[in-house]
Amino acid sequence: MRRSLALLPLLCLAACAGAQSSLDPAAEQAQSLAGLLTLATWVCGIFYLLVLFFLALSLWRARDRIAKSAMPAIEPSEPATRRALFLWSVLIVGALCVLVTASFLVDRSLAEARARDALQVRVTGHQWWWRLEYRDPASGAWIETANELHLPAGRTARIELGSADVIHSFWVPNVAGKMDVIPGRINSIDVTPHREGWHRGQCAEFCGLQHAHMAFDVKVESGPAFDAWLAAQARVASVPIDAGAARGAQVFASSCAACHAVRGSAAAGRVGPDLTHIATRRSIAAGTLPFSRGALQGWIAQPQALKPGTMMPAVPLEPADADAVGRYLESLR
């Protein structure tokens, strides 16, 4: 009860918090950080009120004296005020000790190695999208996808972070604090989500022109649902059945395959995101557009209009071919 009372001001904020908010924790790490935030907000709030009180008091007291004397005075430090200063310093030091200790304990809890049988995920930052790879529990191979992170609830995942180009920062505020993605280094964070649902992550370190459009979706789901998803991601792409999609596959192989991979076809480019199961994803172009065939066709035709500066070049296609590629990509489930 007391705890929920203490959280009250933050809960009011959380009410209007979205899928990308540190006020609506869905994992142990974000939970303990929200607790620390609550503590710090209370301590700082109390100190601010104290300062306001003393300022108001001193202005009120001084008001009476304005008329009395205009002569300036060289005054010694009054002993009573000196004692008050000492008390005030002790109060500040005490509050700092509380905050430093709480901060240290939370930091330790974030670093605790609970990850012995953790799910291994490799994340690579690119200008301006995210490559994601999961270790297949059966074969030990790496299963690649992009821009949509799935995590099983109740199990720790160790996320290893590397960069293909410049510095990025991996941040899913509902799950954990951010960790920079630095070329030449591998950083890692452990996350233990405990509540299912969709969240959103976004690059938090300025990384160039399209830093604003370097987001990714995060789905926390039950263990079995996650296993099923991973197994589906591990499979190669299905061979297109209808004629339109088949024609789309041909156009894709000639126009897109230099950069994009579709496992199970000849397309094996590594420059852009792996598209083997793109139709299972919620959004395209690193969170820029919601997934739909229309959005895909628009993106292929005019990527520079939708995300100026993106590395994706405009691909001029005949309308029929564009339609076919859209159908093909939509079939990649």
């Binding site: 001193s58 304005i66 004397s69 005030w88 700092l96 430093v100 410049v166 604090g177 959103r200 160039g208």
Partner: protein, 633 residues
């Protein structure tokens, strides 16, 4: 001044001093002046003009962010806007304007005729102006830096940033930091060697203490940033690999060196503000400040701690956790000296006889605002909590509360406080209060919501966001607040201009201040004071019968200043102060050519050194001492 034993003789001496210390008339005098007041006024005016321009950029950015998916600016335009706004505000406004205030006020508060190195002061301004012109002319030519005010490699390295935008940024830093080093060395030497007899270190006004501490910090902090930007330029120009991981370099080295400067810089901006606030509180409470010794110790404590907490800007880079805990404790420890200072100001006001003039309102606004910034700073100092806060709008709110609330509000207060001393006229109190209310309310309306935006996940440096993020309302509120404070800024500037002619005549001492600058006329004559004042306390104008004892003996027919000892300010010798000279300007132009040339070719360092050497040789060419002229050492 009170040397009224023989008024005609005194007036004659005044005229002789004026003739000796005045500049040549016209353009030549403008270019050759070494008068610290003229130079500092140029510094302040240039910085205020830039404050206005960079403020316009801020308004532009707020319009772009006022609603989701706005199309006012593209990503390139937005990135340039925040890069130019941040670089201008931090390197070309905040630091220089504080040094300029020191350059203008310190000699007056010391009863001195000028600064220790007048020609160096002129050189400092011209070089600063060179940096300003380089950055903003580049902006007009569309080679604006576009990677923020700290341009982390490898993004700023040769592989990801072709062209010269990064070089312009890095070389602008070289300009402004050489200028800042010149200015701060000058302030340190002036304070330590040119205090009036009797003004021991323990009797220095707190303002002078603040400027001494900030200048010493500048001398220690700036070499780090000049080193790191020079390494960046050499990575780009001659393919060294300091910051290229593929060549064995380390991108984090840049961040360590940058923040080893960057964090002290915040206090280099804030500590002078402590001086402004102390001076204003003292005058308008009409009593000496409570806790002189704790205030000085707090400033020294901040100065020392400031160099031990740069890593709190890097908690998210994945450094060892025990190290983070150390930097957490060090960063939070700053709250102690800052809290002591807040206490001393409030205690002084509480036991004084307050006069609610505009400068005091700025101080009250400062306390209300800066304490929020300090407390949010305590929150970001926590290493784990910072992982949620860093690089979000929470930090944008925090840094503006600290820099605007903590440094600009006191600066505006200081501007209103010393304006009559500089111009001879008072600013309008009525319009001053209106400007204060608009800026204070608008600022808080504009920036407080950003704390919440940061907690709701809005990262910094994004040029747009989607409607589904739910950030639209608070962003709109922030934009409205920005407009309110911008309107206040215009009122402030208009008030300053109009009061030049219309303001009430100020007289020597309109506020009844305690320190020596109020003893001379407004505006002060070229030589500041007719005689050297002798001081026996922290508030010389409030002690005794209002007469100041003076020490005679400085020549009136040549530029002589009195040099005193470092700690006790005992008179040591008369020093011949340099005369006006064109060579500081020529040296600054030659240095500018070297700096700008080295953006394009490393050989500029070689051939560019020749004109610099010539200019410096001419500048320092020794003159034959006149027979019988004392004080030529």
């Amino acid at each position: 001044m009170n040397l009224d034993t023989n008024p005609p003789a005194q007036a004659k001496r005044h005229r002789a001093l004026l003739a000796t210390w005045s500049d040549a008339p016209g353009v030549w005098g403008f270019l050759t002046t070494v008068d610290h007041k003229r130079i500092a006024a140029r510094y302040v005016l240039t910085a205020v003009a830039l404050l206005f321009l960079a403020g316009l950029l801020a308004v532009d950015m707020r319009l772009q962010l006022s609603q989701p998916d706005m199309g006012r600016m593209g990503p390139q335009g937005y990135n340039e806007a925040f890069a130019l706004h941040g670089s201008t505000m931090l390197f070309l406004v905040s630091v220089p304007v504080m040094e300029a205030m020191a350059m203008w006020l310190v000699p007056l508060m010391l009863g001195a005729r000028t600064v220790a190195f007048p020609r160096l002061a002129a050189f400092s301004y011209w070089l600063y102006l060179g940096g300003v012109l380089m950055l903003w002319i580049s902006h007009a030519l569309d080679i604006t830096p576009d990677l923020g005010w700290f341009e982390y490699p490898p993004l700023s390295g040769p592989a990801y940033s072709a062209g010269h935008r990064v070089d312009i940024w890095a070389q602008m830093i070289t300009f402004s930091e050489v200028a800042a080093l010149a200015a701060s060395v000058n302030v340190v030497a002036t304070i330590l060697k040119m205090r009036p007899p009797g003004m021991t270190l323990a009797r220095m006004p707190l303002f002078v203490w603040a400027m001494l501490v900030a200048s010493v910090m500048t001398v220690f902090a700036l070499p780090s940033i000049m080193l790191v930007t020079s390494m960046l330029i050499s990575d780009r120009l001659v393919s060294t690999h300091f910051f290229a991981p593929a060549g064995g370099g380390d991108v984090l080295l840049f961040q360590h060196l940058f923040w080893f400067f960057g964090h002290p810089e915040v206090y280099i901006i804030f500590v002078p503000a402590i001086g402004f606030v102390s001076a204003i509180v003292e005058t308008f409470s009409r009593r000496t400040l409570f806790g002189y010794v704790p205030m000085v110790l707090a400033m020294l404590g901040i100065a020392v701690l400031a160099f031990g907490l740069w890593v709190h800007h890097m908690f998210a880079v994945g450094l060892p956790r025990l190290g983070s805990a150390f930097y957490t404790a060090a960063s939070m420890a700053i709250a102690l000296p800052a809290g002591v200072q807040i206490f001393c100001w409030i205690a002084t006001m509480g036991s004084g006889r307050l006069r609610f003039a505009t400068p005091l309102l700025w101080v009250i606004g400062f306390i209300l605002t800066f304490v929020i910034g300090g407390l949010s700073g305590v929150m970001t100092a926590s290493a784990p909590l910072d992982l949620q806060l860093t690089d979000t709008y929470f930090i944008v709110a925090h840094l503006h509360y600290v820099l605007v609330g903590g440094a600009m509000f006191p600066l505006f207060g200081a501007f209103s406080y010393w304006y009559p001393k500089a111009t001879g006229r008072l600013m309008s109190e009525r319009w001053g209060k209106i400007a204060f209310l608009l800026i204070f309310l608008g600022f808080n309306l504009g920036f407080f919501p950003m704390h919440l935006l940061g907690l709701q996940g809005m990262p910094r440096r994004i040029y747009t966001y989607g409607p589904e993020m739910g950030w639209g309302t608070l962003n709109l509120v922030a934009t409205i607040g920005t407009f309110v404070s911008a309107a206040g800024g215009l009122v402030f500037i208009a008030n300053a201009f109009l009061s030049l002619k219309r303001g009430a005549p100020a007289g020597n001492d309109p506020w009844g201040g305690p320190t020596l600058e109020w003893a001379t006329s407004s505006p002060p004559p070229a030589h500041n004071f007719d005689e050297v004042v002798v001081v026996d306390g922290v508030a010389p104008l409030w002690a005794g019968d209002g007469r100041l004892p003076v020490m005679t003996g400085l020549a009136a027919d040549r530029r002589e200043v009195l040099i005193t000892s470092v700690i006790d300010a005992l008179p040591q010798y008369r020093h011949r102060s340099p005369t006006p000279s064109i060579w500081p300007l020529i040296a600054a132009v030659a240095t500018s050519i070297l700096f700008i040339g080295s953006i394009f070719t490393p050989w500029a360092l070689v051939w560019g050194a020749v004109p610099v050497g010539v200019a410096l040789a001419a500048w320092f060419w020794p003159k034959r001492p006149r027979a019988g002229a004392g004080g030529q050492e």
